[in-house]
């Protein structure tokens, strides 16, 4: 049913529709409303679920690790420093190949402290071994949450659903909340084959010597790569059941003859769609939405970029001293093409800086640079920077 509802409240509804059995979380802005809503559902008796109050994000992640390892459908959510405090456990969850869903309400990471949105927190977890799906809008946040459980349970890999803090979490808009029967049909009760069972004691997370460590890591890597098929299938089956899709691994919008494209990730896509309509004189431009950062869909991306002369990558996090987190990977993936597009790497919107429609003509103009821009922060104001850092 269509409702005017805040993004966080909608995601909490989506989580509840997936019938989680254990939730543990620690409050941090901008994630808080999601878990507050879930706690209320449980207190009101609307959701039968164990809510474990913990003293830190490290414990929250540890509780859901244990719960999911014992066969429960489990959920947690966090942001920024909270995600970083989970780091060790997130690596363990992934390495133990435990199916779990976590919402990252994306927020900048200090210092300097910022409550506002960028994607530094989830990008810092890029190599933790989780599937990472980024949401372009709140409908995708609802739909991806439901898909995430199916993907996690079929791949036995944890899924991080990344939604921009405030921009999505605190925005109220009309959203379609699926019916319980529909979600139940899409997401049947789950049985974890490797669930811990006191009647048949086993150890997990033991030390692995050099004789097997490489193979365990290789298997994990292969599982992530294989998960691409499940991500695509979950989205296709979701569309068949609910009439909406989120764009699989990577999706393209725009005229097929466009030679220029902007690739981005997360909720800035909507602003770029409007901006393209606002500036038709800038010519045909494709907009490429990268939904899956892990696994990184190199093959799908090559297809999406066929025929392009220039690809502008707009990312929302920074690897200081590096050459772009997303753009470096995109450039590497496209280098295998017969005639790859020039890749121009930009970051913008760090720590909540507004990304207005005027960003679009700026990006299109910047793509005229020869040689292409390796990497720059496109919306920096040099007048606010000390002379030696300009």
């Amino acid at each position: 049913m269509l409702e005017a509802i805040e993004g966080s409240a909608a995601v909490a509804r989506a989580v509840a529709l997936c019938r989680p059995q254990v939730i543990a979380a620690y409050p941090i802005t901008p994630q808080t409303h999601i878990v507050e809503n879930l706690a209320r559902f449980i207190a009101d008796g609307a959701l039968r679920c164990e809510l474990v109050s913990v003293e830190s994000e490290f414990s929250a992640a540890s509780v859901v690790l244990g719960a999911a390892a014992s066969g429960s459908r489990a959920y947690t959510a966090s942001s920024a420093q909270g995600i970083l405090l989970m780091t060790e456990v997130l690596y363990n969850i992934a390495g133990l190949r435990i199916p779990l869903v976590l919402t990252c309400a994306n927020r900048a990471v200090g210092a300097p402290v910022s409550a506002w949105n960028d994607q530094q927190d989830s990008m810092a977890m890029r190599d933790a071994g989780w599937i990472q799906l980024y949401c372009a809008d709140n409908q995708e946040a609802i739909d991806t949450t439901i898909q995430a459980y199916r993907i996690a349970e079929r791949t036995e890999l944890p899924v991080m659903v990344c939604m921009d803090g405030f921009t999505l979490t605190h925005t109220l808009e009309p959203l379609e909340i699926p019916a319980q029967e529909q979600v139940d049909a899409f997401l049947p009760p789950y049985r974890f084959e490797r669930a811990l069972d006191p009647m048949h004691p086993r150890s997990i997370g033991t030390v692995v010597p050099p004789e097997y460590y490489t193979e365990a890591r290789y298997a994990h890597h292969r599982a992530l790569l294989r998960a691409q098929d499940e991500i695509v299938a979950a989205d296709a089956d979701f569309e068949a059941a609910f009439g909406r899709r989120c764009g699989g691994l990577v999706s393209v919008d725009g005229p097929s003859d466009a030679r220029i494209a902007i690739l981005s990730i997360g909720s800035v896509i909507g602003t770029l769609l409007d901006a393209r309509d606002e500036y038709p004189e800038l010519g045909p431009v494709k907009l490429i939405k990268l939904r899956s950062m892990r696994p990184f869909p190199a093959d799908a991306l090559q297809k999406a970029c066929a025929g392009l002369s220039d690809l502008i990558v707009l990312e929302r996090a920074l690897s200081p001293g590096g050459i772009g987190i997303v753009s470096a990977e995109v450039r590497a993936a496209l280098s295998e093409m017969q005639s790859p597009p020039r890749v121009h790497g930009f970051a913008a919107g760090l720590g909540g800086r507004d990304m207005p429609l005027e960003l679009y003509p700026h990006l299109i103009a910047a793509a005229k640079a020869r040689p292409p821009v390796r990497f720059s922060i496109v919306d920096v104001d040099p007048s606010k920077v000390a002379e030696e850092d300009r």
């Binding site: 921009t167 009309p174 909507g270």
Partner: protein, 189 residues
């Protein structure tokens, strides 16, 4: 699309007002988006929320730079001068104040300014000086952006019993304090 900014102070229900307006648009069959800006998270600090109302789904996620209408929940914010800046020609600014725009010394070229004693009316009718219902009713009446019924539907969903009755009464009283259609809807919504 019509864009609205609501200026207020932390603790005044600034976000609630934006959400109520977007919900009213939804009740009226329109598309809408409402979101806060978060500054210092403390009571009394200046805060702003934004609402977009459109006949099509709202896709952009940037801040509202040039609102068609501004609601000022706390007239003390006018001392900053920001409330009257960055407005489109023909914009409307509704200020929560018992004084007239002239008495407040408010004027700006090509900007319509109106005042309504929303806090005082709320104190009398609700028993608490919560200005949102009165301000939203006055804005919708001035602009005819949405029918007042849509706001009433939101109030009926949000409040129950005596609280609901008093909010509906406040809504009606506020609507009578301004000139209907004086700021007839602008934008391409």
């Amino acid at each position: 699309m019509t864009e609205i900014r609501i200026d207020g102070r932390g603790g005044q229900g600034n976000v609630v007002a934006a959400y109520m307006l977007a919900r009213a648009a939804f009740e009226a069959g329109r598309f809408a988006q409402a979101f806060p800006t978060f500054g210092p998270e403390r009571r009394g600090a200046p805060v702003a929320s934004f609402v977009r109302i459109s006949d099509r789904p709202v896709r952009r996620r940037c801040l509202v730079r040039e609102p068609h209408y501004v609601i000022v929940q706390d007239r003390g914010l006018l001392h900053d001068g920001g409330a009257l800046q960055g407005l489109r020609p023909g914009a409307g600014v509704l200020v929560n104040s018992p004084r007239t725009p002239g008495e407040l010394g408010l004027s700006a070229p090509e900007v319509n300014i109106a005042t309504i004693p929303a806090s005082a009316m709320a104190a009398e009718i609700l028993g608490e000086p919560i200005p949102n219902t009165a301000l939203l009713a006055a804005l919708l009446t001035l602009t005819e952006l949405l029918p007042l019924d849509a706001l009433e539907a939101v109030i009926v969903r949000r409040f129950a019993g005596e609280e609901q009755r008093r909010n509906v009464a406040l809504m009606r009283a506020a609507a009578l304090r301004v000139i209907a259609g004086a700021w007839k809807e602008r934008g391409d919504a």
